[in-house]
Symmetry: C2
Subunit: 183 residues, 2 copies
Amino acid sequence: IIIFDEECFQGRRHEFTAECCNVMDFSFETVRSMRVESGAWVGYEHAAYQGHQFILERGDYPQCNAWAGSNAYPIGRLTSFRPISCVNHRECRMSIYEKENFLGRRGEVTDDYPSLQAMGWCNNEVGSFRVHSGAFVCFQYPGYRGYQYIVECDRHCGEYKHFREFGYHSQTPQIQSIRRVQQ
Amino acid sequence: IIIFDEECFQGRRHEFTAECCNVMDFSFETVRSMRVESGAWVGYEHAAYQGHQFILERGDYPQCNAWAGSNAYPIGRLTSFRPISCVNHRECRMSIYEKENFLGRRGEVTDDYPSLQAMGWCNNEVGSFRVHSGAFVCFQYPGYRGYQYIVECDRHCGEYKHFREFGYHSQTPQIQSIRRVQQ
C-alpha cells in the first residue's frame, strides 16, 4: 500500500508492506490519496485502528471520497491501516443472527449479497455475527453503501455478539448488504 | 418502490410499480427517503432518466446518502427511476475491453469483482463494454464506490462503445469495480 499526502498520487509518498498504527509517525498529517498494490486492507479514521473502517482492495484511490464512499462520512480521514490476513475469498462462511448473542433467526452467508432482504433476510438489521472462515464487509445500506464493518474469523474469535462489537462507532445494528473480502 | 418527501420514511408517500419519469409530476419536490419492496431499479438525478445513476435494490434508504453513497455526489437528488427488467442474476455475462469500440485487451465478467485489478485487469480503466446477458453496475473506485454506471443487455443493444455512452455525466473511463445487479 502506498500513501500520498496530496490528492491524485502527488506530494510525499510512503510505501508499507505491513500495518501502520499512525501515519503521523511517518510525518503524514493525513492521507489524501492511496494505491493498494496487493492484498486487502482495513483503513481506520483514527490512530491505533479506531473509528470508522474502510475496506481497501487493490486499485487506485485518488481522493479520500474514493475510500470513504459515503456522505455519511463528512471526513474521509485515514490515520491507521492493517492488512487482512485470513482471507480465502472462495471459502468465506459466516452465520448471521436476528438478535444479539447469536439468538433469533439464523442465516448462512457464503456469497456477496447487495440486498440481504432480497436474499430472504427478515429485516434491515443483523443482531450478531459468527464468522467461521474468511472475512466479510457488512454495510448499513443496500448496495454496499453507508457505514462499513469488517468482520474476520481471526479477530474476536470470529464472534461479534452485539452491534457495539462491530466497530467503534456503530450506533445501530442496521445491516442491509454483506460481501466477502477479496484478496 | 415507495418514495417519501421526508427522511426516515416520513411525510408524504407514493408507491410505484413501474417507471417514473419525474417525481414532480406527483407533487414531490424531491425524494428524501425510499423503500424498495421488490425488484432492482435505477434512480436518476434528473427527470427523464438523466444525470447521475444509482442502483437501487431491495431495502430501506432512510436518507439520500443511502443511495448516493459517495462524497462524489454533493447532492443525492433523485428525480426519476425505472425498473431493470432484464436481470437474471445467475446468468449475467459481459465482455470488457481495454479501449473504446471493443478494441484492445478483453476480459469476461460473470461474477462480482470489488477490484478489477485484483482479478487481473490491466489498468484502472475500461474503454468499452458489451453486455451479453443481464445487467451490471460499474463503479469508478474499488469496492463499489464512486460514480455508478448501470449497463444492461437490453439497452443500447448491450453495447457501450465509449465512456460517454456509460452515462450522461461520465467524464472518464475510470472503472475499478463491477458487480451484477441482483433482483
